[in-house]
Structures are given as structure tokens and as C-alpha cells.
Amino acid sequence: MTGSSAPEDAPPAAPAPNDWPAGRAAIIRDSLAVGVATGTYGISFGAVSVAAGLTVAQTCVLSLLMFTGASQFALVGVAAAGGNPFSGALTAVLLGSRNTLYGLRMAPLLAYSGVRRLGAAHLLIDESTAMGVTRDSRPAVRTGFLTTGLSVFLMWNTATAIGAAAGTAIGDPRTYGLDAAVGAAFLALVWPRLADNRNRLVALAAAIVALGLVPVTAPGVPVLAAGGVALLAGLLSRGAALAELPEAPAHPGRVDER
């Protein structure tokens, strides 16, 4: 996988280089490939969401308005377990907080203000950050960010609608293993973050805490309580925080997470 190689601070105030038209075409091509590959698995979100008991309309509104995959899966995951919708909402919000970190990193690179910033904020997700942050000029950052964000948005919402419509037509979702698909989706989402030992320990502890609470608390509570493990580990561990920026996919077919 290609790591993020952007300079740590200095935002690229540099004008576009001389070979910009060719560079721009390459960025657009790569970004569209990521957008299509990522957006397609909105099909699994749509199917899983209606299997969890949400309506097709609720499922589509989630993809349109929330538009951050892990949070959407979390909300429907808690709903599937019979949890209070607000437990699901709180879990979704906590997961969505990582987009704030992406925004802090992208803000000086994009340098948007006013209405443009309001629009760009909606497209601020793992992939658009990954495809924007590594560029070496402001036009290149904006091209990567916007092309990826918009193409994921279009594909993700189209695929969600298809998945939701198909999900209502197939009967008992368990017959098709859709309940197992949710756990697999969460595992795939956390997978890129399990590269270091501290994160593995936190993941293991969080899973144990959550399972321990399942028999004695309302659905949704075990997952929220596991967030406390992150709080505790963050307070107790030492050393600089790792930069947890999403990495650009090594090739467009492989997408780690949203």
C-alpha cells in the first residue's frame, strides 16, 4: 500500500505544476476507480439495513445524509440486535468523530471557506481524505478530494437503493447469511487498524468488555461501554499518537474501509 507522503504541516500553496493537465487526468482516473469500487459495497449496506428492520426510505436517507459507512453499519447493527435506536445513533456519532480528525488535516490543504466548505464537509470521508491528502499542490488536493468524494457519494447512494430494494424481496435474511455479513463488514472495517499491537490489545479488550455486558445490559449498551476501553487506553498509554489517516488503496480494487 502507498503510504501518505504529504508534508506534515506546510499546506501546498504551490500552483499547479506544468504537467498539470496530465496529472489532473491521472488523479481523476484513480479517484473514479476508488469511487466505483467503494461505492459498490453500498449494496451490502442496503441489504443489511433492511434485514435489520429499517425501511427502504430510512436506509436511503442514512446513505444520503449520514454518508459515512462505519457509522451507518453501526446504527443498523445496533438496530439488528434489538437495541434502542438512540444507542445506535450514539455509536454512529462516536465512530463519525474520526472524520473530524480528517477535517483537521484536510482544512489547510483544501483551504475552502463559506458555501464550498459546507459542501466539502459532507464529502469528508476515509476515501476522499486518502485520495486528497497525498497530493503536492492545492488544485491536485482539491481534484482528488472532490472527484473521490462525489463518485463515492453517487455510487454509494445508488448501490444502497439497489441493496435495500433487493433486501426486501428476498425474505428471511438469515437464509442468505446476511446476519453473518454484518460481523464480517465490521471486521473488514477495523482490519487496517489492527496493524499495531496497542490497537490489537484495545480491540481484544473492547470485544471482551462488550461480550461480558451482553447478558446484563440493554442491546446497544455493550458497544458503547467498549468505547470506555478506548478512553482508558488513551489515558494510560504513553507515546505520541499514531497518525491514523486512511491510506490510499494500493490498487483501486482493494478498499480497506470507508
Partner: protein, 103 residues
Amino acid sequence: MSPTTWTAILLASGVCYLLKLAGLSVPPRVLDHPVVARVADLIPVALLAALVAVQVFADGPAMVIDARLLGLAVALVLLLLRAPFLVVVVGAAAAAAALRLIG
């Protein structure tokens, strides 16, 4: 359930948007504190790991081992083989469905 679900969806969507906008708007020093940055990094790890565990083993308040565990095992193998997201998810579902079909 539906009005509550709608409220939860719209509320969470609004807050998720504000979290994105906040990142593009607030001065970076807010997250300069190392503890804040570490906790923010670890929250997705903890929540996603907990979601995996609950999603696979919980059945209401009970803990069960069923076809979902086979699905998770298949997902793990596919991730180790660097399969794309959609393949991992579909592979897990197919494995669970196949076990239920023959079981």
C-alpha cells in the same frame, strides 16, 4: 418504533455532518493534546471490535455459537488473503448460508 428510528437517524446524521464540518472549521490546536488525539484514534478500534463480537456471538441477551462464527472465520481468512471488502462480506454471508442449508 418508526418515529423513534427516524429521529435517531436524522439526529445522528446531523451530528455526523457537524463533526465533519468541525474538522474543516476549528483551529487544529483543539486536538493537539496527546491524550485527546490518542483517545480519538482508539475509539474506532474499540467500537468496531465490540461490534464484531456482539454481532457474531449475541442473540438478544444470550450468547450463542452458530453459523455466524463460520462466517467470521471465512471473513478472517479472506482478509488475510487481502480480498476486497465486498468479497469478504459476501464470502462470510455465503459460508453462513451454506452451513444453515446443510445443517
